[in-house]
């Protein structure tokens, strides 16, 4: 017999893979963001190479957030959220597993696509490695923070915009340290490890804290 959390992970993963709006759509959105930026600021490759990591980070942030509004909403609509809430498994762990599955289905494809899209922005190989590594350790933090917003707005019909308003201010530290560690990868005078470790710490801290906040918000829905 499978453990409930493994079963939940598989269920979330399958839902994200099979129902539209999952990982592939996030990557397409990511690509579109990367494509329209040079139209806005001009096709100067030197400039693009310099601000490329920032573009990739902002695109990844928005792509993550756009997919997150359905994290609990769909479960709320079909009633499975009530079952999860009444189950023996703590709701905090359920949230954690749902976040991990969501990240594996939508965040990880963004990380994998980042080096390819980075080439389009004329990033140097060290910068490509830096931005990919920083996205790999940083995007889970975005998913966890977004889960808090998704839980708060799960019952609202137009929760997506509100969720972005609530969550985006909280993601500022992740963005700062993500972009600075990506920038440090190209500049030898800057330390790469310091911002990178802070980014790891942000991810771990949000993984530890966000499930509690999100679970509290989900319990509030049922009352």
């Amino acid at each position: 017999m499978k453990s409930p959390l493994a079963a939940l992970f598989l269920r979330e993963w399958r839902l994200a893979r099979r129902i539209g709006g999952g990982g592939a759509m996030g990557v397409v959105f990511f690509l579109i963001m990367v494509t329209i930026t040079p139209f806005a600021i001009g096709p100067d490759l030197n400039l693009l190479g310099r601000i490329g990591p920032a573009i990739l980070w902002i695109a990844a942030l928005l792509a993550t957030l756009l997919g997150l509004d359905r994290l609990f909403q769909a479960d709320h609509e079909d009633g499975s959220l009530d079952l999860l809430r009444m189950a023996d498994t703590p709701l905090e762990l359920v949230v954690l597993v749902k976040c991990l599955a969501h990240w594996a289905a939508t965040g990880l494809p963004l990380v994998i696509a980042a080096p390819v899209f980075g080439l389009m922005l004329a990033l140097e190989p060290p910068a490509l490695a830096g931005v990919t590594a920083s996205l790999f350790v940083g995007t889970p933090a975005l998913t966890f923070m977004g889960a808090m917003g998704a839980a708060l707005t799960a019952t609202l019909r137009r929760g997506g915009l509100l969720m972005s308003i609530l969550v985006l201010p909280m993601t500022v530290p992740v963005l700062i340290f993500g972009v600075s560690s990506a920038a440090a990868a190209t500049d030898v005078s800057l330390s790469f490890t310091t911002p990178f470790l802070v980014l790891c710490a942000l991810t771990l801290a949000s993984a530890a804290g966000a499930p509690f906040a999100a679970a509290a918000a989900l319990r509030n829905l049922g009352e």
């Binding site: 708060l152 019952t155 509100l162 308003i165 201010p169 906040a213 509290a216």
Partner: protein, 254 residues
């Protein structure tokens, strides 16, 4: 403590205390503004623009103080489920947003002549801007969720998440090398600011605190009354009665 948390008792208390608090606020603001413009000396470097400080600094303090009030009320909402805490929380958000806005605008006006720019992206300014955004997010959340109890608990969770930002604001000038100057009043080893400037600042800070207290008491009272009116309207609608004004009157009599 529970006696004071009873909404009806709270309304009676507010009715008695509010005139005094409001009067004190007006008095302190008058004295503080007089000191700001006529008593406090001009700075030897900054000239008269230093007088912006007497608005800017108290507004900044109050923006954080208001958030902490809101966070304390949020605990009251989540732990004790008290309706008065809900109302206090909801009432504080727009006031805090207003103080933060005043702080940002006066800081910007001060920054133009002193730093040569309206805005810099340094840690202190950015973290206060994030505080402003959190206030706006909270107001949006309050407006979006219709059922008051649920809205209060959702806002309480978000408020407590946002508390992370408060130490960042406080220590941003120490942790990062910012254009904004470090703390000069509440610091180890006493204030570095001259008494002729410290006194007007303290009077203004007290005036702003009283202003916050006045506004917060009024807004909390209004929120309680608004909920009562709403409930009575629903009751009247439910019983097929159209005389809502009569129901309100009857409630006041009781």
């Amino acid at each position: 403590m529970w006696k004071y948390a009873n909404p009806t008792f709270f309304l009676a208390l507010v009715a008695r205390v509010l005139p005094w608090v409001a009067g004190l606020t007006v008095l302190l603001l008058a004295v503080g503004l007089y000191m700001t413009f006529f008593v406090a000396p001009a700075d030897y470097q900054q000239g008269d623009t230093v007088r912006i400080m007497y608005i800017h600094v108290p507004a900044a303090w109050l923006s954080v103080f208001c958030y902490m009030t809101m966070a304390a009320s949020a605990l009251g909402t989540l732990v004790w489920r008290h309706p008065l805490a809900d109302a206090a929380q909801k009432a504080a958000a727009p006031i805090g947003a207003a103080f933060t806005f005043i702080c940002l605008v006066t800081g910007s006006l001060w920054g133009k002549p002193m730093w040569g720019t309206w805005w810099v992206w340094d840690a202190r300014l950015t973290s206060v801007l994030v505080l402003f955004l959190i206030y706006l997010g909270l107001i949006a959340l309050w407006q979006t969720i219709e059922e008051p109890g649920r809205a209060a608990r959702a806002a309480a969770i978000l408020t407590l998440i946002g508390v992370v930002n408060i130490p960042i604001i406080k220590f941003s000038v120490d942790w990062w090398n910012t254009l904004h100057q470090p703390a000069s009043v509440f610091r180890m080893g006493g204030p570095t600011i001259h008494p002729t400037m410290l006194w007007p600042l303290m009077v203004m800070a007290l005036a702003f605190t009283m202003l916050f207290l006045t506004l917060h008491l009024m807004a909390t009272r209004n929120e309680i009354l608004r909920r009562r009116v709403h409930r009575l309207t629903m009751l009247a609608a439910g019983s097929g009665e159209s005389d809502v004004a009569g129901a309100r009157f009857a409630d006041q009599e009781a």
